[in-house]
């Protein structure tokens, strides 16, 4: 048939010796057997990948927890649609007009209501630096302001007990106020201190010496996680029964309260609202009702005597129709205010966007640095695998020679070594995912932060995919080295 002139394999002969590649499952089986044969060595090799995957997942869980906490806090202070207008020092070129600057007044509020359609809500605020006292105790609340009832929606407040003051209270400048739970806690005692919840609606509160009637109290604001823990503790307490109650309560206080992460919620709880007119009448009109000596009861309707009064608002809070229209809305507000302020730019905008931007930057940086560290440890793990695979093939030169002599192609050997490396990496990855669960539980029980770590499926699959890629890359060099071995020399190798 074929004569020896043929330079290459004749087609039918080539077909007769067609090389079927080794079944991949057999190769994987060989890989497992090899790993099993060196259990301890393989475990040490995997350790790098295990730690890398675990730290990657745990890091991402911690950052995700922080992100969730920050977003929760952002919603608690009113969301992205909220814009604050605050008074500001005049720009240098307008300094000489300082005595013409009015500041923010109720006129601005009316003008905005009429002239800025993209603004859906306007809430003026007049802050009162306050020292409140009741029940024989003093307290400086974080916010003590005269506001319109709309502030309730604006700042995401909910009145749980009693009622919010209404337009009538404002109109009449009644001495009423609505307080947050932190004020109650400081003056009358927190529920977990006194053992029951005190609702001081109807009590009298002295703000800078002026008596106010408490007509409502906000709900207690706390992070999702605090609420869950408190509920769990309450359930545990209920289960434990009354005798152990006090012991349980005194233990709570150490951990609860104003933790670092809950500060924003504590600030929100430390709020006292009174009607805007009341704040003006009692504290800004220039007539001091609770002044020492002097005036007596005569100045009852001292609003008329406001010649020296200060009608300026400390800030305006605006709610925008849509976050996407924020720049346009700000422009509208600016135009209106420029006209009411006669071109004097004595105000500035403060948006939550800056804050959200800060959060995002922080999260991104945390993710980047954590990811970098975890990535480096994964790469170190990969180097460990490569090192072991190189040692392993120089241990198995003879085996490779035998396999080649009985018909393994370079491709078969390449795949065998590569699969071994990938199997190590995949096993390490799986173990790493398991370890990450333990790690996250460990971290959150050792140092409970305000934000519970959240393990995401995305982070897990990313870490796992990364470990597989590392396995492939680490196996590449040893596999090429093994596949290139000359069978004759490999067989002679001792």
């Amino acid at each position: 048939m074929k004569k020896p002139h043929l330079p290459h394999l004749p087609p039918e002969s080539a077909a007769a010796v067609r090389h079927s590649t080794m079944n991949i499952w057999i190769t994987v089986g060989v890989g497992f057997r090899e790993i099993w044969a060196h259990k301890f060595r393989s475990l040490l090799t995997m350790l790098g990948i295990i730690l890398g995957v675990a730290s990657l997942v745990a890091m991402s869980a911690l950052v995700k927890g922080m992100e969730n906490g920050a977003k929760e806090a952002l919603v608690a202070i009113g969301g992205l649609e909220k814009v604050r207008v605050e008074p500001q020092e005049l720009p240098p070129e307008q300094r000489h007009l300082r005595d013409q600057a009015l500041g923010l007044t109720i006129n601005d509020v009316r003008a905005l209501a009429a002239g800025a359609p993209l603004v859906t809500r306007i809430s003026p605020e007049m802050r009162v630096p306050a020292n409140v006292s009741a029940n024989g105790k003093n307290f400086r609340p974080f916010i003590c302001s005269g506001v319109w009832p709309v502030a309730l929606e604006m700042s995401e407040h909910t009145v749980l007990h009693g009622r919010m003051f209404n337009d009538l209270d404002d109109e009449m400048a009644r001495s009423v106020c609505v307080i947050g739970t932190a004020t109650r806690d400081e003056l009358w005692g927190a529920p977990d201190q006194v053992g029951r919840e005190i609702i001081p609606v109807g009590e009298t509160l002295y703000i800078n010496g002026v008596p106010f009637t408490i007509i409502g109290m906000f709900q207690h604001y706390e992070s999702e996680q605090d609420r869950k823990r408190r509920e769990a503790e309450a359930a545990a307490r209920a289960a434990a029964g009354p005798p152990t109650q006090n012991a349980g309560l005194s233990r709570d206080r150490g951990r609860g309260g104003r933790g670092r992460g809950n500060f924003i919620f504590w600030l929100k709880n430390a709020t006292i609202y009174m009607p805007l007119n009341t704040a003006y009448m009692k504290f800004r009109s220039g007539v001091t009702l609770a002044g020492f000596g002097g005036r007596g009861g005569g100045g009852g309707n001292g609003g008329a005597a406001g010649a020296t009064g200060d009608p300026r608002l400390s800030s305006l809070e605006l709610k925008i129709m849509n976050v996407d229209l924020l720049p346009q809305a700000l422009q509208q507000v600016r135009n209106v205010l420029m006209s009411t302020h006669r071109g004097i730019e004595d105000f500035t905008f403060r948006t939550q966007e800056d804050w959200a931007e800060n959060i995002n930057t922080f999260i991104r940086n945390a993710r980047l640095s954590g990811g970098l560290i975890a990535g480096i440890s994964l790469i170190v793990g990969g180097i460990g695998i490569m090192n072991i695979m190189l040692a392993s093939i120089s241990e198995r030169v003879r085996e490779i020679g035998i396999r080649k002599s009985i018909g393994a192609s370079t491709g078969d050997i390449f795949v065998q070594i590569l699969v071994e490396s990938v199997v190590i990496a995949v096993l390490g990855g799986v173990a790493g995912l398991a370890a990450s669960l333990a790690l996250v539980t460990g971290i959150s029980s050792l140092s409970p932060t305000g934000n519970a770590p959240v393990i995401t499926a995305g982070a897990m699959s990313l870490a796992f995919a990364f470990s597989v890629v590392i396995g492939v890359l680490a196996g590449l060099v040893p596999a090429i080295k093994a596949a290139r071995l000359d069978p004759i020399q490999a067989l002679r190798y001792e």
């Binding site: 020896p4 080539a14 080649k404 002599s405 009985i406 018909g407 192609s409 078969d412």
Partner: protein
Amino acid sequence: MALVEVRNVSKIYHLGGEEIRALDNVSLDIEAGEFISIIGPSGSGKSTLMHILGCLDTPTKGTISLDGVMIQGASPRQLAAIRNQKIGFVFQFFNLLPKLNVVQNVELPMIYAGCSARERRERALEALEAVGLANRSKHRPSQLSGGQQQRVAIARALVNRPRIVFADEPTGNLDSHTGEAILALFRQLSTQGRTIVLVTHDPEIAAVTPRRIEIRDGKIAAKVDLTLAGLDRSPRSGPAAGAAP
């Protein structure tokens, strides 16, 4: 046409600028079913010849046809396939994989041939039966004697039904009694029609084969063909056509 046709094959190494002719213009034929030995002292080039015949190495010059396939132009992948399906090797040091048991060792060539698991097991046990070791299939190589290990290696060499089997000093690591038994096994396989090439330095061992080729300094020094002289000791009447002059 002979099973193996070697024409003017040379293998030249360059070591430090010096040219070493491991094989120098060798030509020979091996017919299907022959039992032939290649003898020569160490360094004579007999191992190089066996490696080239066994597709483990390629010649520098000359042509080789194995079972009608020209192998000097084949790719490494094709050479691997030829080794897998047309050639069986038996080595001096058995070269079994210590981590696999006997039957797994015998199955190994079929894994690279892509046989199914059932077929592999069946044929491996068949091959072990043929060398008289079917009852040791689950043992590790280290649990077997040298002679038994060599039988496993022979079973492995035969399991893919190769056209030709190369045995490189198959008795070199065995005591003379066991060596005898292994040679007897080769003779028996030869009578069953297998083509077997025995590579050895020992003329006594080479004496079992009806045809001998002596290699010295990379050249064929002598050819002895007892079949031509009618002195073949084997009961089989070997193929008459001998080596080309």
